[in-house]
Structures are given as C-alpha cells and as structure tokens.
C-alpha cells in the first residue's frame, strides 16, 4: 500500500509541475488544458473515492503553493472532484471503457462551474461569459484529448484497481 501511495504522490507532483510550468501557459482555441484534473480523474477511477479525494487535496495544495494562489482553494475543488469520480469508478463506471472520457467531460464542466462559484463567493471579479461560454467547450475537448493517454499512463504506473479482479456474483 505504501508503494502505491508513493506512486500516487509522484504522479500528483509531476502533474502539478507540468500543469504549472507548461500546460497552464499553453492556450489553444481560447482554452487551457487541465492536465492536473485529467490525471486526478485517472487516479480516482483507478483507486476509488477515498484515495481520489486524498490525491485531489494533495494536488490542490501543491498547485496553490506553486502558483502562490490562495491555499485551500484548489484543494477544496479537487477533493470533491476526486471523491465523486472515485465513487463513480467504484460503482457505475467500473470496467467501463468510456469511463475516463465521460468522467473527464463531466468533471471539467462541474469543476469550471464550481471554481466560478467559489470565486464569486470569495468576492473575486470573474468573467462568467469567458469561463462558461467561450472557454468551456474548447476546454472540455482539450481535456478529452488528454483523457485516454493520461489514463493509460496512470494505469501503467498504478496498476489495475483491486476490485477489477473481483467477480461480481449475482444472487438469486
């Protein structure tokens, strides 16, 4: 288990470094891909809700630290995102080929809305038109492009989830 945790931490750290140093300054069609979110989706789908939430918290904390942003802001959003995607991976999304794509699309939209709402609550000036109209669809598409390669890479590092080997036995 401890090796698994170290692998997850390493993945999160690499994703944070890449996101903050390279990806966040890459604008394509008015949007920026979110490698960190896509990597978190992969970790959550493969390791479940609790580890997804923990990875989300760690990823958010590291990202806010690296960017000198408000500590706790990204952690809050990614903790919730990691938990929800983890629950989906453990239940409905289990062994579904399209689970990474569906999860990335849904979580990108919810994350954008959640981030927007959080900024409004914190009193930040926000441009809802840009976030929800102009950048959202390109953002979702860019994240979808990253979804399969990142999921495959994360699965190669972490291995398949324990529950994947367990057979479901129907009673009655």
């Amino acid at each position: 288990m401890s090796i698994d945790v170290l692998k997850m931490l390493a993945l999160v750290f690499v994703a944070v470094v890449l996101q903050s140093a390279i990806v966040s300054s890459t604008e394509i069609a008015g949007a920026t891909p979110d490698l960190l979110l896509v990597a978190l989706v992969a970790v959550s789908l493969l390791r479940g809700a609790i580890w997804g939430a923990a990875a989300g918290f760690a990823a958010g904390l590291l990202f806010d630290t690296a960017n000198l942003a408000r500590l706790g802001e990204t952690s809050l959003l990614l903790t919730v995102a990691g938990y929800w995607i983890g629950r989906y991976g453990e239940t409905t999304g289990r062994d579904r080929t399209h689970a990474p794509l569906l999860s990335v699309a849904v979580v990108t939209i919810l994350y954008s809305v959640g981030a927007l709402a959080l900024h409004v609550v914190l009193g930040d000036p926000v441009d809802a038109g840009t976030v929800l109209v102009r950048a959202l669809i390109p953002g979702v598409l860019l994240n979808l492009l990253l979804a399969f390669p990142v999921h495959a890479l994360v699965r190669r590092v972490l291995g398949r989830p324990e529950w994947a080997a367990q057979k479901v036995r129907l009673l009655g």
Binding site: S20, I22, S24, I50, A53, T65
Partner: protein, 268 residues
C-alpha cells in the same frame, strides 16, 4: 469521514489564508514551498521549450507571408515617424532646458528586470506568475511591461517569484492620457478581456487610432504607481451618449496579453 475532514481542512486553510496578512505563517510556508518547487518548474519548462519553439516556428511559417507584407508597410511608416519623433524630442529637450522645466519621474529613472513568465496564476483573475521576485529588487506595485508596453503591475511577491496582475483584470486601474490630445482617464478592463479608457469627460477629444500612455501623477498625496509615458494601447472606438457623463472608449493593448512569455519589471 476522510473526505469530510479534507473538505473542512481545505475550508480552514482557505479561511485562514484569506484573513492573514502577507507575512503570516501560511504565506511564509507557501513561499518556502514555491521556492522548493521552482527548480522542477524551470526544469520542466526547459524540457518543453524546444517543442514550444517548434510549434511557434510552424505557426510563424503559416503567417509569415502576410506578416512580412504588413511589417514592410509598417516599417516604412515607422521610419518616417521615427525621424519626426527624433526632431520633436530634440526640440522638447531644448525647450525644457530653456524653461528649467520640472518633470515627473520618467522611464530613464527606472531599472529593468527581464524575466520569464512561468504560467497563469489564476484562471479567472488574469494574473501571471513570473520567475523573479523581491531578491531581484522587485517591489509591490512595480509596473510590468512587454515589448515596451504596460501589461500590468506586481501584486504579490515572494523572494524568487511574483504575481503580475494584468490590465485586463477587473481589479486593475491605471491613470492614463491620450498622447495626441492629453485627455486624462482611467484604463480599466473592458468587455471580453478588452481594455476601456474610462472617466474621460465628453468635452475631451479622443479618437480612433490615438495612442494612450500612463499619465503618472505629481500629486504628493496620491503618487502614481507608474512613470509617465509608458504606452498602453491604441484606441479602437470612441463614442458618447446623452445620458452618460463620460465617453465610451475601447482600446487594444500594444501586446497580446493572453500570450506573454517574458516581461520586464521596472524597479527604481
């Protein structure tokens, strides 16, 4: 249970960070963490640079022909303007000397710190993280330029990094004037990430194509953060209505604010 604890912890962090001053313990820990992560970020950026350059090269190739033609025309026009400007500058210096004219601090009173943009600091706030900080002499509210034009100001500082709040951020406001007519106003963020030249009264003359620059300030109680005369942008539209007390003026920045890779910070 674990998730609940993590959410509460996030909220607690956010709450404490929001309330404490910039020299509080959380800010201090963040500075240490950011400094520790910076070598990794710089390393990743260096690895990615050849690929970025390759992308930029292909992108440039596609637009090179049109750009070449446009730049030739611009070059001819600017050469003529440069000659006229040199004459005007010399006349200006001669007249100032004759009049013993007392002026505001100019660009020549500042030193430049050129640095790399590490990335976007906020998805919404239009803020950038740069690879230079207080150890390079940068101070809070220092003006930040790109290609000779004002792009924003320093709003957060650590020893090795700083946050630049761009002019397009809703919290930015810069005193500015039209170089052609001297009309004074404020540069604020406009619709859809554009810039607006606001608070210009209707009796002032501002027209499309006017160059707008920082106004500076000689009022001792309210000294301007920026030296006078840094170009900001060019007016793209100017209109007025009977009901509004001020003109509605839009301008476009001299640089592409959404794609800054390197900036210059002015320090005194």
């Amino acid at each position: 249970m674990v998730v609940g604890i993590l959410v509460v912890l996030s909220l607690a962090l956010l709450s404490v960070y929001f309330r404490e001053s910039s020299d509080g313990p959380l800010h201090g820990a963040q500075d240490v963490g950011a400094t520790a992560m910076r070598p990794f970020q710089v390393g990743a950026e260096r690895v990615a640079r050849p690929f970025r350059d390759l992308y930029g090269w292909f992108d440039g190739l596609l637009t090179a022909k049109d750009e070449n033609e446009r730049l030739r025309e611009e070059n001819a026009r600017l050469s003529l303007e440069a000659t006229q400007n040199q004459t005007a500058v010399q006349e200006n210096l001669d007249l100032k000397e004759q009049l013993d004219y007392q002026d505001l601090p100019g660009l020549e009173d500042y030193r430049s710190v050129n640095t790399r943009v590490l990335g976007e600091h906020s998805q919404f706030g239009k803020r950038l993280l740069i690879a230079a900080g207080s150890s390079d002499g940068i101070r809070l509210n220092a003006p930040v330029l790109s290609a000779g034009a004002l792009v924003g100001a320093i709003t957060e500082l650590s020893p090795d990094t700083a946050v630049v709040t761009l002019l397009t951020d809703e919290s930015s406001a810069v005193a500015a004037y039209s170089i052609r007519t001297g009309a004074l106003g404020l540069i604020r963020s406009g619709e859809g990430g554009s810039l607006a030249f606001s608070n210009v009264t209707k009796d002032k003359d501002v027209a499309r194509g006017d160059l707008v620059a920082t106004a500076g300030s000689s009022v001792p109680r309210l000294p301007s953060l920026f030296p006078r005369g840094i170009p900001i942008g060019i007016v793209t539209s100017a209109s007025q209505t009977d009901t509004e007390p001020f003109k509605q003026i839009q301008l476009v920045s001299n640089v592409n604010l959404s794609n800054l890779r390197a900036v210059t910070v002015l320090v005194r």
